[in-house]
């Protein structure tokens, strides 16, 4: 069910995309255009404790140790 939802979301999102050749990616190459999580580990830890939600990060997420 969730996989089907994800595939539909991806197809819907990709429908409006244009294929951009490498020589037109000057602006996309700017460091701020990386789709990474810009929050550092200390900031992420604050969010993990203050918010009841998780997800959206990359890789393994350690236990918050906030007992």
């Amino acid at each position: 069910m969730t996989l089907r939802f994800l595939l539909i979301a991806l197809c819907a999102s990709a429908a409006g995309c244009a294929r951009v050749p490498p020589y037109q990616r000057e602006l996309l190459a700017h460091p701020t255009m990386l789709l990474v999580n810009f929050s550092g580990p200390a900031e992420e830890h604050v969010y993990a404790i203050q918010e009841g939600a998780i997800g959206g990060g990359s890789g393994a997420e350690g236990g918050c140790g906030c007992n």
Partner: protein, 392 residues
Amino acid sequence: MRLQLSFTLALAALLALASEHPASAERPSVTAAAEVAGYIDSTHVQVASPSVSATVADELAGWSVGGRYLVDVVSAASVDIVSTASPHWSELRHVGSAEVSYKRGPAAVTASGGVSHEPDYLSLSGGLVATVELLDKNLTPFLGVRYGHDDVGRTGMPKDRWQLLQRGGMQAGAAFVINRFIVASAQLDADFERGYLAKPYRYIPLFAPGSGASVPVGASPQLVNELRLDQRPIDSLPDARDRYALTGRIAARVGHATLRLDERIYTDSWGLWASTTDARVMVDAGPRLLIWPHLRFHAQSSVDFWQRAYEAVAQSDGTLAPPRYRTGDRELSRLDTVTGGLGLKLRLTGGAHSPWYLTYQLDGAYTRFYDALYITERLSLFSALGISGRWD
């Protein structure tokens, strides 16, 4: 003479090659960073978090290895402690993590692992993420799995009485180029937690049947102690939690600025729904300075079993017992948090190689608790100062 000419030509050719392909590009580069972060809030929690990290990467060979070490120095005397007459406490948390990446052609794999240790908590975690570049790098799907093993106890409690919490999870999604100015990504995370999920230090005030509604939002510790029963059971939560998050990210380059917008929709098997919106406008304020105003809004509902004032349940033999699930964790109640701040990154050195950067971030947050005891709001301040350098 001919030999000397050949040698000169060969040397010239080598120099020409070297200028086209600098030796630095063929060597691994080393990046190192240090950061000191601080957190303080109106519930008297203070945290200082120094950290160091380093990465060695060879872009041509396609590999990188990195590690990070962080210490949290936590000092707290929060309202929960006041209400349970516990003393002010301080604690150290040590966190170590490492990451290895390897890229071959369009495919890349990243393995990561981490250890977090404090006197009453030990967490081990690991994960693997695979990505592949398709359609001339216009579409990059990724798939990842992760596992965590936590041991949860209380300071001074023998280790054999600690409780186990296991966390398994997966993530799947894709990043895609929309046009020459915009990239976006969509990601689904599913995490499954099994084991001890309660807070071993939290005791829950219990009220007589039918009297819970008369305990007001934000009731003071004194009022709670006047109204509650003598029984004070410990925090008790279900031992399974399935958590799902759908995250969308978009980055748009306009002039000398990048607009970055993240949205996460979250739900879990405890009935909590949440929306988190994070926006940054990163502006090139000069050839060496990047600044970004930051705004974040988080709103969530409470879990299904949340009650501001838990009432005892009358048993068939006439005694009173606490409800099966009860918690005093305010982060499981309905709340909103607004965070706003500013960050900057300053390049300290000129030249194309071996840059050094100074970064600073200051965020203030306001949290409104709609249905909790002791407090109705919290103000907090987070700041981080870092320096990083790269050796090419």
